[in-house]
Subunit: 280 residues, 2 copies
C-alpha cells in the first residue's frame, strides 16, 4: 500500500486523504461484530454520553480485543502513515467512537495535536489520525467535518471545554473557526463502511449530533512517529499510550484470518495505566 503523488499533494494542500471502501465488507464485519460486547463492558475505557448510557468513546480496544489488535497492525492502515513520516510509528491513541443512533452527541471544533502538545508534551505534530468507518457515513448521522487547509496554521489557541459534552476537549473559539471556514470552507467525507480517512493532527475538525436511526461507529487511530513520542504522562495510559515500540504489521489478510496477537489488558486495565505520573 503506497500513496500516490496525487494523494500526497492533496494531503499537503487539504490536510486529509479520503479512501472510500479501503476495507471490504467482510473485513469490517469482524470488527463490527465485536463492538456490542466491548461497549457493554463497564471498564474505565468506556466513556458514555452525557445523560445517556450510549458509549461516546471506547479507548485502547487493541489491547484487549483480538480483531481490533489486528486492525492496529494492518498494513493497509500503517504503511501509508509510515510513508508520510518516513519512519516507524507507534500507537499513541486508539478509540472506537460511538456516535450512536439518536444519542450521539457533538464534538466541538478542535485539533487533536493541540491536546497532545498541551497534555502529553508531544514535541511535533508528527502523529497521524486515521478514521475507519464501521458504519456507512451519510449526511444525517453526524459525519466528521474538516476545514481543508487548516492544518497549515499549526496549533491555534484553544480553551479547555469540560462542560459541553462528557469528554473534556481543547476547543477553538468561534471567531477563529469563522475565519478558517471563510478561507477553506467545510467538507464532510461520506461513504460506505470500510472507508478510511488519513488526516493531519493539526486539521481542525468537528462533528454534529446524530439524530438519525443509523449508528455511526468509527475507529480513530492516532499513530505517532517513534522519534516523536510523548514526554509527559499526565493522562491515563489508556488514553495516551507509553509503549513506543514500532508497530509490526501483520499480513494484508489479517482481518480475515485469526493471526495471534498479544492482548495484555484482556483481564482488566493494569492499575498503573489508570492514573497520571505527573501532577495535573
Amino acid at each position: 500500500m503506497k500513496l500516490t503523488d496525487t494523494q500526497l499533494q492533496s494531503f499537503e494542500r487539504d490536510g486529509y486523504i479520503f479512501l472510500p471502501s479501503h476495507f471490504s465488507a467482510a473485513e469490517i464485519k469482524t470488527l463490527v461484530d465485536e463492538v456490542p460486547a466491548l461497549y457493554a463492558q463497564h471498564r474505565p475505557e468506556n466513556v458514555r454520553e452525557k445523560g445517556s448510557d450510549a458509549v461516546r468513546t471506547n479507548f485502547a480496544a487493541h489491547l484487549y480485543s483480538a480483531p481490533f489488535a489486528r486492525l492496529a497492525r494492518h498494513p493497509r492502515m500503517v504503511e501509508p502513515v509510515m510513508q508520510l513520516f518516513g519512519e516507524p510509528v507507534y500507537m499513541h491513541q486508539f478509540k472506537i467512537n460511538g456516535k450512536m443512533a439518536f444519542d450521539g452527541d457533538v464534538w466541538q471544533w478542535h485539533q487533536d495535536y493541540g491536546t497532545w502538545k498541551r497534555d502529553d508534551d508531544m514535541p511535533e505534530p508528527r502523529a497521524m489520525n486515521v478514521a475507519i468507518f464501521l458504519d456507512e457515513v451519510n449526511e444525517f448521522n453526524g459525519p466528521l467535518m474538516f476545514i481543508p487547509g487548516s492544518h497549515k496554521l499549526g496549533v491555534v489557541d484553544a480553551e479547555h471545554d469540560t462542560s459541553t459534552t462528557s469528554y473534556p476537549l481543547w476547543t477553538i473559539d468561534h471567531d477563529t473557526i469563522a475565519k478558517l471556514v471563510k478561507h477553506g470552507g467545510i467538507v464532510a467525507p461520506k461513504g460506505p463502511a470500510g472507508s478510511m480517512i488519513l488526516f493531519h493532527s493539526c486539521l481542525v475538525h468537528a462533528s454534529s449530533s446524530n439524530l438519525s436511526p443509523w449508528n455511526r461507529i468509527s475507529v480513530y487511530l492516532s499513530l505517532c512517529a517513534v522519534s516523536n513520542h510523548i514526554r509527559r504522562y499526565k493522562r491515563p495510559e489508556y488514553i495516551a499510550h507509553r509503549d513506543f515500540r514500532p508497530i509490526e504489521c501483520l499480513p494484508d489478510d489479517c482481518l480475515l484470518k485469526e493471526y495471534p496477537v498479544p492482548l495484555p489488558w484482556k483481564d482488566g486495565t493494569p492499575a498503573e495505566a489508570l492514573g497520571s505520573t505527573v501532577a495535573a
Copy 2:
C-alpha cells in the same frame, strides 16, 4: 400563485413541497435586516437556547414587526395553503427560528399537529407548516429533516420532552422513528435564502445542531383552516393565536413596498396574551 397537479401529487405522497428561491434576495433582505433588532429584545416571545444567549425561537413577530406582518399576508405564501385546504386560513403560530451559528441546538423528532391537538385542541390536522429560509440552508447548518410519507400515519404516540432543549416538545420514541425511516428514508431540502417549504402538520421532522459559522434563520408559519380553529387556550396566545379571522393577502410586491399593516403588539405583549385561560 397556484400549485401544479404534480406538486399536489408530491404533497399527497411525500407530505411536503419544496420551492427553491420562491422569494427574491431583495424580498428576503427586508426580513433579514429586521431580525437582529427582534432578537435583541427582552420580551417573552424570545426563547433562548439552553446555556446561551442565542435566540432559539421568536414568536409572533407578525404582530409587532412591519416586514414580518407583510410576510404573514404574502399571496405567494398564503394562496397555496388556501388552495390545499379549499377555504380561508388564519395564523395559528408564527416563529422565527434562530438555529444560530455555533449555538443552534437540535429539535428532536416530532409532529407539529401532535402538539396542536394535545395542547390546543385543534380538531383536525388542517393546518399547514410553511418554512421560509432567511439564510442559505446547507448540510452543515442544521437543515430541517423530514421522513417522507410519515404524515399518512396521523398522530403517533409521543412523550413530553421538557429537558433536552430549552423549549418543551412532544417527541416521538426511537423505535417508531426507526420504523418510519426504514420505510420512507430521510430527506433534508437545501437551497438559497428565499426558498420555501410547505409541509403537512403530521409530517415527522427534526433538525440537528448547527456547529457551522453560518446562521440558519428560518420563518415557520403555521396557517390553520378557519373552520378548524383551536378550541383550548392552554398555551399563551403568543404561541397559539386566538384571532381566527381569515388572512387578507396584500399585493405580490408587499415585501418591496411599505404597505400599511396593523402592529397591535408594537408596544409590548398584552397581559392577556401571556397566560392560559384553562388549567394546565
